[in-house]
Subunit: 331 residues, 2 copies
DNA sequence: ATCCACAGGTCAAAGGTCAC
DNA sequence: AGTGACCTTTGACCTGTGGA
């Protein structure tokens, strides 16, 4: 039994080991394993975004990890799959965290952008005074921030390249915010979207009834879908993740696609498992019904985009924070 | 040739295999085999003592092993049966180990209990100074500890559930200690039990001759039985195991009973084999004679128990370590 | 002989551990 | 804290053997 030494596909060291589907030394195996299993974030690459040369890979977590992904190391079996209840509970905590930020904080910087919220270690907030007045602009600003703060806690986001993180968050935070607002309205038997203080999510009514139509679709469509489905909190939480864990986005890098589609598998399996447990043989039907919410979110996003285009055309200028513009322009 | 897939009775995986008397997948077969054949200890169950769900069984050695036993996997054919000489030599080493601890060590913690000695990874001892004074209390404390340290090295103990381990050791360590002390006295032609320094195994003489009687029985009964039988070291060692490998104990769990009765079979076969080899056609008679020692141990235990009850009644208070009390209360 | 069911063995890959 | 050399455990696959 002769062990033939080959080169580690990650770091080029000589090795006879084969792990996670590739020729790879024990050190790289353990490195990859740890970061996926322990869900520990990566230190960013100091040499910009280029890939470090193999002999210095050990010094750069970021490039080493992405080399692992690019080399085809099997990711999914390593992703922790906690019991469904624990997973849902964790999602619930994240949702509360989002709502907590939305209702009680305001950033020191009044014009943050997506990149800053994603990559700065500490975005500074102050607690809002109870009497502090929130208007349309500040509500959509806080909605964006609170949502991005939560999104960046998901491994497929924080393990991705900075460019991919931007694509993922920019293209989804509006949808996620709307989705959460819709579920809050649905839970309290309201038929229209509103901000936590009850104010309207649209800044003004168009005089023309033609434009009233689109406003009402924005306010009601998601909620009435929830009513149709009689969706519950657990289903909402499990769907929420699937909204932004979407590998079909254009311009994602190769490793970004691997990350997103792998985690999407994991999350959709969780939803499927939930449906099977709760609805037994009707589980698959329920699963399909729930997934149909995602296309409704798509229509909602279209409406939102159109609404902003129309209001621009009408010259109605109501201040849109630049971070929100980043989200709208990408729709 | 149709292989019908069934569910593994241990882990529920689909399989067509049948091993060790049950429908069971190859993985569970190898798992069970290894732990019995290699006599490798089990990592304790993290979820308390409940049985892990089948799909996570592979992650918990303890629950998986006990599921194997409970499912009726045949245990005995897998138990290693080394040549009799090797087995006896191994027992002899364990006995020396016990005597070594008894004579030369003292634990850092002066009031250990049975559970701690059984389940803690490392019970800390210090070497005793030759001049260190041992009194009655410290001798019975060390006897208990040394005996339990040896008992926990037997597979039917360390493979058992924690609750069964407690029952097994608590109910036997006093008997085992007495049995060993008796053989040491017999070997050096003494007629009464004593601690290694020659001091009396009972803390004081009752003045009344009625109570002197019981003290003398405790001191002499076992030794005179050994003299009657002209027992030798090998026989002593083989009997020693049978004293604490006793499936008749109340409250043993189902798997505890399986373990203890199976190992008792193995050990009594070894004694029978020894007798047959050494005494040829008189072997069975010798075997029966030797087994009668076990009932003598029972009488001895009764005397010890009564002695302690009497001394309590007389208000003679001489400190009994709590670990020893655990052993007396169960007699 | 030759099937085949089950016992037992092998080894690559996965999963820990621990000193640095 | 993170790393990686080294160790243990697992289970898919293989070989051996005895009965029909």
């Amino acid at each position: 039994m002769v062990h033939v030494a080959r080169n580690c596909v990650i770091c080029s060291r000589l090795t006879s080991d084969f792990s996670y589907g590739v020729d790879c030394c024990n050190a790289c195996k353990m490195f990859f394993r740890r970061h996926v299993v322990k869900e520990s974030p990566l230190k960013p690459c100091l040499s910009g975004n280029e890939v470090c040369p193999p002999d210095t890979l050990a010094g750069c977590q970021f490039c080493r990890f992405h080399k692992c992904l690019q080399s085809g190391m099997t990711l999914e079996p390593l992703i922790p799959k906690p019991p469904l209840n624990d997973f849902i509970e964790n999602l619930s905590k994240l949702d509360s965290y989002r709502y907590q930020i939305l209702c009680n904080y305001y950033p020191i910087d009044p014009d943050l952008n997506v990149a800053t919220v994603l990559f700065f270690k500490k975005v500074m907030y102050t607690e809002r005074e109870p009497e502090s007045q929130m208007n349309f602009t500040s509500w959509i600003y806080m909605s964006a921030l609170a949502t991005i703060e939560v999104m960046k806690k998901f491994p497929f986001v924080y393990l991705a390249k900075p460019g991919d993180q931007l694509i993922l968050t920019r293209s989804s935070f509006m949808n996620v915010s709307s989705f959460c607002a819709a579920f809050r309205a649905y839970s309290s038997n309201q038929e229209v979207l509103s901000f936590p203080d009850g104010s309207d999510v649209l800044p003004y009514e168009f005089v023309s009834s033609r434009y009233e139509e689109i406003g009402n679709r924005i306010r009601r469509r998601l909620i009435s879908k929830f009513v149709d489905l009689k969706i519950n909190k657990d289903e909402f939480l499990l769907l929420l993740v699937l909204i932004f864990c979407n590998p079909a986005l254009p311009n994602l890098s190769e490793t970004g696609q691997i990350l997103v589609s792998t985690y999407q598998n994991v999350y959709s399996s969780a939803l499927f498992q939930y449906c099977s447990q709760k609805y037994e043989k009707c589980g698959p039907i329920r699963y399909t019904e729930l997934l149909s919410v995602i296309s409704v979110i798509g229509k909602h996003a279209e409406d939102v985009n159109n609404y902003f285009v129309i209001s621009q055309l009408h010259g109605i200028d109501c201040f849109i924070p630049s971070i929100v513009e980043e989200g709208i322009n990408l729709l």
